[in-house]
């Protein structure tokens, strides 16, 4: 028996509707979301999932979801064949692949804890299915630093050091941009996406890019500093790389 499920993940709590929203997020907060709708999501591709406002710029994930029977996708560089296309992507990553670094925080696209990269773009995994990203490349927090030592540490052999990390991860550690850390993988994934399209973001751009993430511990000031630090380190590094390539030629 197969039951078609409503899009949006089974975790969305539809049974709990109240009588009207008392606290609509401020205009300023929602502005990036609106802009994203206006320009088809090109400006801020990671700000696309606000329930009832916009869905996903990735056309694969909009509307009726095709349900390939056993979709193939690449997760952190490894090709995977999922058994069902209608499997929620967050559940698939956490429970089927046991990549538990990607977190559940709300199940309705409003906290960012579940953010992963799909073909390099940040996406709320709780809001989509495996089928919707079939053929795509999914990167989770476990997969952004490709250093071997990290993989070894993850497998319980040896200890990872700061040098093994992705510059964004390192910046979060250096700035102590975390308390409980539960929200942090999501923030890091969105930051990686942000710095890819905007290598030198202003503080305002950082805030705009991360507005749909919640850090209940309130480490925002440090998170902002960490993102700016990562941007700086990455641009220094890429300059250095360009420089040395120049030397070599």
């Amino acid at each position: 028996m197969s039951l078609s499920k409503p899009f949006g993940g089974v975790y969305a709590d539809h049974g709990m509707r109240g009588n009207g929203r008392q606290d609509i997020p401020p205009a300023e907060m929602m502005a990036p979301v609106r802009r994203a709708i206006a320009d088809g999501g090109r400006a801020s591709p990671d700000l696309v999932v606000s329930r009832g406002v916009a869905q996903c710029t990735c056309s694969r994930a909009i509307g009726e979801v095709p349900v390939p029977t056993s979709p193939v996708l690449v997760v952190n560089g490894v090709e995977r064949q999922a058994s069902r296309g209608d499997r929620n992507l967050l559940s698939y990553l956490r429970f089927d692949l046991r990549l538990t670094g990607t977190k559940y925080g709300c199940g309705e696209g409003l906290c960012g804890a579940c953010t992963v990269l799909v073909d390099g773009q940040p996406l709320r995994s709780c809001m989509t299915t495996v089928g919707a990203v079939a053929g795509g490349e999914v990167t989770t927090i476990e997969g952004i630093a490709t250093h071997d030592a990290l993989a070894a540490a993850a497998a319980g052999e040896g200890v990872a050091t700061l040098d093994d990390l992705h510059p964004v991860q390192r910046a979060f550690v250096e700035e102590q941009a975390m308390q409980c850390g539960y929200c942090i993988p999501g923030f890091i994934m969105s930051t990686v996406g942000l710095l890819k399209r905007e290598p030198e973001p202003s503080p305002a751009q950082v805030r705009e890019a991360l507005v749909e993430h919640v850090c209940r511990c309130g480490a925002y000031q440090r998170i902002e500093r960490a993102v700016l630090r990562a941007a700086e380190e990455m641009s220094v590094r890429s300059e250095r790389n360009t420089g040395s390539e120049g030397d070599a030629s």
Binding site: M1, V10, Y11, D13, M16, G18, R21, Q22, D23, P25, P26, A27, E28, M29, R51, S91, R94, F95, L99, T100, G101, T102, K103, Y104, G105, C106, G107, E108, L110, C111, E142, L150, A153, A154, A160, Q169, R170, F172, V173, E174, Q176, M178, Q179, C180, G181, Y182, C183, I184, V206, E208, E212, V214, C215, R216, C217, G218, A219, Y220, Q221, R222
Partner: protein, 684 residues
Amino acid sequence: MRRLSIVGDVTVGFPASRTGYGQATYGNTAPQTQRATWIIVDGTGRVTAFAGKVEYGQNIRTGLAVEVADELRVSMASVEVVLGDTARVPWDMGTFGSQSTARVGWQLRKAAATAREALLAMAADRLDLPVEDLEARDGAVVSRHDRSRSIPYADLIEADQEREIADHAQVTRRADFTQMGQSHLRRLDGIDRVTGAARYSQDILPEDVLYAAILHPPTYGATLRTIDLAASEALPGVVQVVEEGGIFAILAEDDETAALAARIARLEWDIPQGQPSRWDMPALLVESGQDGYSTQEAGDLDAGFKQADEVIEATYYIPYIAPMPMEPRAAVAAWEGDSLTVWAGTQRPFGLRAELASIFGMEESRIRVIAPEIGGGFGAKSPYGLAHDAARFAKAAGRPVRVAYTRAEETMWSNFRPAALIRIRAGVASDGRLVAWDSHAYHAGERVMIGRRGSETPYDAGNIRSMVYRSDSPLPSGSYRSLGAAVNHFAREVHMDDIAARVGRDPVEYRLAHLTEPRFRRVLEAAADDFGWSGPRLPDGRGAGIALGIDVGSYVATAAEVSVNGREVRVHRVSAALDCGLVVNPEGAANQMEGAIVMGLGGALFEASDFEAGRVLNPTFARYRVPRIVDAPRIDLRFVGDDETPSTGAGEPGIVPIAAAVSGAVFGATGVRHRELPIQRYLD
């Protein structure tokens, strides 16, 4: 492996019985054994410290590691801290009340000092040198006169040995710390948290685990009338439907199947009529107030009011708010024969173990509770009933079972910071001096304890009465960062601002005129200085506010600058000064302070849990606004405590003055005094 174990009494860690809070609330837990191992130095020189606390974001692992490292003269990297596992750590009542952490830290320091002295004595024997000529450094014992004569700890430990924590062990003086108090202490677990390696309770997935979905009623107090689970049971992947302890749940091979089966289950409920709703709260709090308890009494109130030239009276109202920790609760239970292991993100693993023992009528020794990393708790994750459910379901299923709350379940089926209504009457003499202070605080909840914290005024009004009552609570009320203290402070500090304004005095100057305690004066002056305090009105229509407070023994003052634009208040910057005595881990303490300020801004500006007829109307982020990065102000902090004063908490005090400071700043900007929270609801 050979090891030197330091053992000692376990009953050091629970909160001061002065408040009685922990005892009264969680009195069902008692140590099974009075002694436990606190520190092990093993044959490789590695140090393991054990504490019954849990890590839920307060960075306690690093804080304890640095204390142990400093005492033992080893690097922080060679210290491992084991927390929250009842099979491995000393009994502990629970991780709440910031004081308790300081006590456990102190016990570990004594244990580490004992270990250091034991190692020195062993080395003295071996090197045939007097102990006075030796010192411990970098994980070895070294001769003070001849550096070449040294023995690493690892080599000193030739056989298993056990030592009792020595009361006279020489705990290191502040001046001799090398790591403690350093501002760039890196978190021990930082890397794990940025790589996804850190395992939270939601991440515990034993082989063969079943995913549970609980069939919760739609409202509080509802009773089940009819139930039809035929469709749910027929769903492929559903393994079992269980009813345990009056709770129905679906157990399935995967999470989505369980959730879907729960959604198609047909349940009809009888919902009790006449449950109070949010708008009934102010009246309900006062009318149901009982067990009045006086937390402060001085002078003669009647005489005070007689002297008064003016009486200033006002009512303050603070609604319920939801803790909304980032990680909703999750618990996994696995039985092996008649032994039970439970993973649960609870602040009180030993308390949970005791509860499980009584539910299943078994010895505590056959139950192991492990608290993995916890994604935030803010004091609210002490009750952890879903772990009972997980254990019952797992027993029924004969397989490990995972119960994990959704966001809405987490909100509705945990607990809220109690709503409160506070009435204050103050008498002011003709010269502006306070001569009478009469405060009556009604806090929702079963325990009057909730409202006591922070209900005393530090201002010298001569004639004082402060009463606290407990009132009916339609929502489950429970602990929360600094609990009633934040609420009591809001009322008192806004009232002080109000009086100052009415008698034409500056809020800082007026407070100072009524403060004798030097620690209060110091934090207030520091925050005002750093902020550049010049009064409530600022250029460009902005406003400034300031407030002070005390919580868990720490003194704090906070100033805030805001602008008001329609129904939005923007907090631009905050300066705060904290005196929490000796600061062990400045970065950690700063992080906690910043977090408390941001969290407090939510309650000050827009958080309120709405409910109607037994239903919570805004249990998710879609309807419950929490502070986001755009809401976070620039925060400047200063620690003004004295290094010789023992450490007190840094995680909670930050929240106590912030709402009043914001209210004062909004007054500065708009001329309107806000006595109800959240402020944005009352802007037009």
